[in-house]
Symmetry: C2
Subunit: 205 residues, 2 copies
DNA sequence: AAAATAATTAATCAAATGATTAAAATCATA
DNA sequence: TATGATTTTAATCATTTGATTAATTATTTT
């Protein structure tokens, strides 16, 4: 529709500028509070280009959200499915990879979880292969470590320990004067501690 | 300003209806996405009454947010300050009181943390006595239990374990078919488990 | 270089929305 | 009950905002 038909790579420049700018503004203010004019300004481009390249604000948002959603959840998948790592190794890698990912994208969790909250039905597809998790190698490994441990609680716990600080970040950062460490150091420390904590938790009861 | 001068209790009826309706809609959709017309409809009242009683949408939001903010954080204060409970008892009570509070107000965490994220400067006052936490009885107790344990991490951990599931709730609830328990039972189980987990974590290292 | 296609711009539109107003209805008080 | 104050209502305003359009500039193709 008024969009370049063939060449899809040379002229990605402005198209990508818009998407990147939109991602920044959407993550900062949320969908409803961002005006297309904010995005245009952030991108340093004319307002009409947003509709020229992406048809509508909502469509642009959906594209960005799909990417962010994937980024937010995909870290876990290889570790859930892998057979040739111990649970210890998996937990270490998840903590490290995930916290480092979130240090690069600190606004990602609140952004994604907000979208799910605002529009739960729309995200059914996201949870595509969730049924298989119960029969995954990781769950089997955990059952072997502690038959009483519930894998739902395990997943909630490791996500909580990794993700929650980023959701609290604005409150924490504001406290950084009185805290001994700044936010980034706090999270670096957690990369080391979370595996130990998870190990202790799994053995409980 | 056009508002009743003297009598401030008899006619709270519609005033409160508006506030309650607004709290529901604001928590569901966020500030920017709620229209004053949504609030009026939720309350079953005429649109103009919102401005008559609360002057502006923003003012109404600020009033609600101040209350929700207090609700979200106040649970911890007595346990931080109390001298005559063991850390074990405190953690048990926090888990129980806080999770039960959030089961009554499941949208509270995302609502409050969003507001802080959108407008961090505005919430400086919230963190009024945070400096004193470092010298609080609870921190002293924790130091005695494990000198290596960091109280910042302890606070993050207990909040994470209690609060994070509610932020994930829309995703979890959607999974309830394939989960063994529904969300409420999952959280009831956590009331029992979190003290044990926290105890194991505190002893780490 | 000329023609055709694509990208960009400034101006504008139409719908949505927070807020106001003036009149009507309700309530309180003497 | 009559008078005055308060509350409620329907209609309207002014601004914001997502989107479109027509004209202009840039790029590609022949």
């Amino acid at each position: 529709m008024g969009k370049a038909k063939n060449l899809e790579k040379e002229d990605l420049s402005t198209e990508l500028k818009i998407k990147d700018a939109a991602a920044i503004v959407f993550q900062k203010k949320g969908f409803a509070a961002t005006r297309t004019r904010d995005i245009a300004e952030e991108a340093g481009l004319n307002l009409a280009l947003i509709n020229y390249y992406y048809r509508s604000k909502k469509n642009l948002f959906d594209i960005i959200m799909a990417e962010k959603l994937s980024t937010f959840f995909r870290t876990f998948i290889p570790f859930i499915l892998s057979e040739d790592q111990t649970p210890d190794e998996k937990i270490k890698r998840i903590s490290k990879d995930y916290i480092n990912l979130l240090l690069e994208n600190p606004e990602l969790p609140l952004f994604v979880l907000n979208a799910i909250h605002t529009n739960p039905e729309h995200f059914t597809k996201m949870i595509y292969g969730a049924e298989q998790i119960q029969h995954s190698p990781l769950v089997a490994q955990l059952k072997r470590l502690n038959p009483k441990a519930k894998f739902e609680q395990f997943f909630l716990n490791i996500m909580a320990l990794c993700v929650f600080p980023f959701i609290m970040k604005p409150a924490i950062s504001h406290l950084s004067d009185i805290l001994s460490k700044d936010f980034e150091n706090l999270m670096k420390e957690r990369i080391e501690m979370i595996p130990k904590w998870m190990d202790a938790m799994i053995k409980v009861k």
